[in-house]
Symmetry: C2
Subunit: 142 residues, 2 copies
DNA sequence: TCAATAGTTTAGAATTATTATAATGTAGAT
DNA sequence: ATCTACATTATAATAATTCTAAACTATTGA
């Protein structure tokens, strides 16, 4: 979904009722310049800051999964312990900052197209994604 | 750890007491031809099949994490909902079969070396790993 | 306009994976 | 054989997520 789009209309278009919770979540998720990467916890915190009435945790989960199913969010696996989501649903690569636990999108130009030479019989490739883990390069004095 | 190595000696070398639970876990994990990819659940099932006395779940977790800390297991993130481990601790890429939830190692020759053009100030690259998701290519008849 | 209805929200309970606790057991040293 | 630090274990605790069922509401069409 694009910044400053009419979320009420957009939700209707994809067959989701434009409730105030969903509209507010759209605003928080999509009214921004750049891709947003978040955990459910991040999102709950943001929502409680930006809304007078709190949205229930169950609704946040329901809505995130509803948006994911409609193709407006994508789940990213970087940590086996919690789920990360991404408002950029296209195929793309990531940097993951192991200090801050932040995800950063790669541009097309950052990494060449990956060429897969192996073929698994009877299987087709659904996605090819690179994860670059980075961390502070401060050395402990030697 | 290599196949048919002396696990008792090996454990001692790295400062882990060679208890019967640890030795049995070594056998199950490392006495095989190929890399072993598993979840804790897989491992518990295997162990209970191959051992008369059962190993407690807490011990399985403790031991897996002990082996990971010593560099004999590596955690792989493909699914935010459970942890996968890998007896191949070197830097390498994976195929993930979304039908069977099986991980398959890539060889060096399967994917060219990834060239990262982007640089994140003050951060060094710890790892670059590719995950290729595959699934059955049966089409629903058109 | 205003019920009827289907879809939505919600609090709280349930489930699942994982970690912590603390009592018991044991490998290796003396 | 005894000691002691380290390990194992059952169980409880925690954390993330999903389920449930009752209350609520957006939309429809009489
Ligand atoms: Mn999920
Ligand atoms: Mn872990
Ligand atoms: Zn992204
Ligand atoms: Zn592997």
């Amino acid at each position: 979904m694009s910044k400053n789009c009419n979320f009420i209309e957009k939700l209707r278009e994809v067959g989701l009722r434009p409730t105030k919770q969903r509209v507010k979540m759209c605003e928080v998720l999509y009214n921004r310049e750049k891709t947003f990467h978040f955990t459910i916890n991040d999102l709950v915190k943001l929502l409680s800051e930006k809304m007078n009435q709190k949205i229930s945790l169950a609704t946040v989960y329901n809505t995130v999964h509803a948006f994911e199913k409609k193709g407006y969010l994508k789940e990213i696996s970087i940590d086996s312990h919690k789920s990360y989501f991404d408002t950029n649903t296209s195929a793309h690569h990531h940097f993951f900052d192991e200090d801050t636990h932040e995800l950063i999108d790669c541009d097309e130009s950052d990494i060449d197209k990956i060429n897969i030479r192996k073929n698994i019989t009877g299987k087709k490739i659904n996605s090819v994604e690179v994860l670059v883990r980075v961390a502070s390069d401060n050395q402990t004095q030697k």
